[in-house]
């Protein structure tokens, strides 16, 4: 994108006559993107989703199709036009830009997906600055000092919220696509090299987490030959917790939260892994003792029973 185009969207300081001419040219030029078209004096009154889609299909069909392609519009249309924009055009854009609108549906402020962002530097700076600066500016060209949810996930107003998000954190087949998407966003503020290194390091960190999970899954798989399903209930529960902790690492990397990368992520997975190993050791020891000891002793020690106390 040219420097002139970037100037168009930054009125915080003077940019002279040349800039003004460029701005006029850009505003009247065709194919200027969705934003200018969306802002033609919108009709007043309340509209439901069906009416909104019908009208905006004529105005901006690519926007609707992007929405349908992403997680919000796919499946049962989990987040429709009115869910984010409200039913009227009044303040609809600001409403959809706000973090709170997203947080309402995405598990509330304490859910890992929102909390990991809220405690990141981006989240905290935005929390301080939003009351003064509002949410009316477009989601592009560093028009916000730090990005909110929508700035990254709906960068430049694009409506496919699945862009830049991993489909499955257990494999990295979509790595390149995700990398290309989010590099564009981050480079509004950060140098390409910094963004590249952050991304590579994040990938490596996530891979370390995956290797912990793989180690645990292999151990449990081998154990299922020796022990019954009932014996392995706690082990499986621990494995499930481990997956949550791996997700935390992903969120920590994506939202740049040290706390989610670390305390809710890596060392938490270490704990899961050693507990799985410890539980299997214990099962093995009980099995050996039971096999060698007399039935009487096995009955007396009743080791498994002590766990329930």
């Amino acid at each position: 994108m040219s420097i002139g185009n970037r100037l168009r969207v930054r009125p915080d300081y003077q940019f002279g006559t040349a800039g003004f001419v460029i701005l006029l040219l850009l505003l009247v030029s065709p194919g200027n993107g969705s934003l200018a078209q969306e802002r033609e004096t919108p009709p007043s009154g309340a509209y439901d989703d069906r009416e909104s889609i019908q009208c905006h299909l004529q105005k901006n069909a690519p926007l609707i199709s992007a929405w349908q392609h992403g997680a919000h519009g796919r499946k049962q249309r989990s987040a429709s036009c009115t869910a984010c924009h409200g039913k009227t055009h009044h303040g609809g854009l600001e409403r959809a830009h706000q973090d709170d609108t997203c947080i309402d549906c995405h598990g509330g402020p304490k859910a890992p997906v929102t909390h990991s962002y809220a405690t990141s530097k981006h989240g905290l700076i935005l929390r301080l600055e939003a009351p003064q600066q509002g949410w009316s500016r477009p989601l592009q060209d560093a028009r916000y000092r730090t990005p909110g949810c929508a700035y990254c996930h709906m960068h430049r107003g694009q409506h496919d919220v699945s862009k830049g998000v991993r489909k499955d954190i257990l494999d990295d087949t979509d790595r390149q696509a995700v990398q290309d998407e989010i590099h564009q966003v981050c480079q509004d503020c950060h140098s390409p090299r910094y963004v590249g290194r952050l991304f590579d390091n994040g990938e490596k960190m996530l891979e370390v987490g995956r290797s912990k999970l793989r180690e645990a899954m292999q151990i449990v798989e081998q154990a299922s030959v020796r022990f019954g399903e009932k014996d392995l209930v706690t082990v499986h529960r621990q494995l499930k917790t481990m997956r949550h902790h791996l997700k935390n690492i992903y969120l920590g990397v994506a939202h740049q939260s040290p706390d989610y990368q670390w305390w809710h992520g890596q060392p938490a997975m270490d704990g899961d892994l050693l507990r799985i190993k410890g539980q299997l050791d214990e099962l093995q020891r009980i099995q050996t003792i039971s096999a060698q000891g007399t039935d009487e002793r096995a009955g007396k020690t009743n080791l498994a029973g002590q766990h329930g106390q």
Binding site: D12, L128, A142, P258, D259, G278, G293
Partner: protein
Amino acid sequence: MKYRRIRYVWLPVGVALLAGIGYVNWSKSGAGLYSRLWQPEALFAYWNPADFYDPVQSLTGSFAGRECVTCHEGVTPGIVNDWRKSRHSQAREPVYCTACHGNDHRNLHLPTPQICGGCHATQYGQFVDEKRYGFPSHGLAMERALDARHFVDKPKAEVSACLQCHSVASKCDSCHTRHLFNAAEARRPEACITCHSGPPHPDDESYFASRHGQIYLEEGKDWDWSKPLHKGNYKVPTCAYCHMEDGKHQVVDKSIWKFGIRQINPLTSSNEVKRNRWVKLCSDCHEADWSRRQLAKLDTERKQAWQKLYAAESVLCRLRADDQLFPPASQRPAYPTDWLDEIWPRERIGFFEGQASAFYNVSPIERDYFEMWYFDNLSTYKAAAHGDAALQRRAHAAMDRDLQSIKREARILRTLGEAERELGIDARAGSYWRIGDYTDHNREHN
């Protein structure tokens, strides 16, 4: 006789001393005590620029400040937006990019505290002075992270998570975020939360739940944050008001309880000096006697917490003495930092033995104790110190549960051990303690 003493006593002592100094210097030649044992990730350049920054080579030429701005308006507009709003750009003689980064594009640097200290000498002086109070502190955060056993042992991409917060020692923008570097932003509690949150230090949770924090949340957005952190300027204290009073750039000259990490004697003369500093600070709003009583309550809380911790620690120490920890240290991977570990493997119980690194590759009961000490104990401390009574109760109840659970686990380990002894079984831990995707990777990629 005299010469013999020189030959047999002083000469060997001298040689040993020189060899010791030489060894320490050799091993510290990179970054940290064990830097010869590991290679940094490329990203470390940004967390610890003094040791690891490598300038960008993609563009040649020397540029004046205005030229940087013109070009970066297109390349990274966010940076320029910030800088334009900053005091740096609004000064009579603007502080351009070149003042902090240099002007040769192939030899740029990231500003370290030392570079910022070139202009902000008072703050830099205070920041450096902090180190004499030891750790935990901001000033020593990076050194101690790089020297930690688990940092050296684990894959560097994994422990890069540590450096994000520990970089508070190696750059100023942890609190004064770039490129606005706003003092007003750093005065607000939110500036601290990215690092001061989570299980070992729920400073955010405990402060915001306190009366101070509740009032801040209600009214803080309307206060004038350009005012210095001085008596009468703020209705309630924030993190920085108490820990960096009057804007002093060091946070530990009042640090009595040392984060709750180890037990301290609160009544030493040096701690009495620190206590008087607290009382003086609290007296900005409260009566001195009342403040003293509140601080004494914290002493009591710490004593209660340590009684619980020592009870748990003694359970573990007795298990270790009786050889009942399972698996024992000899059957799990050793730290590469400690060659003694290979020939004399031992479990590390308690702060002074290195419990801080003993959170992985340890037996479950040791991990339980780690969590009791590092999570629940530190939570009770933070809650008591910041005035969050509910969290204090919850975390103490959690410590009680931890202790009971450790005792129960110990009974199981002993019962199993005794049964095995009677039956003559030599129980070995599963091979999975030493083999596996992560465990192998960890051994090879530190």
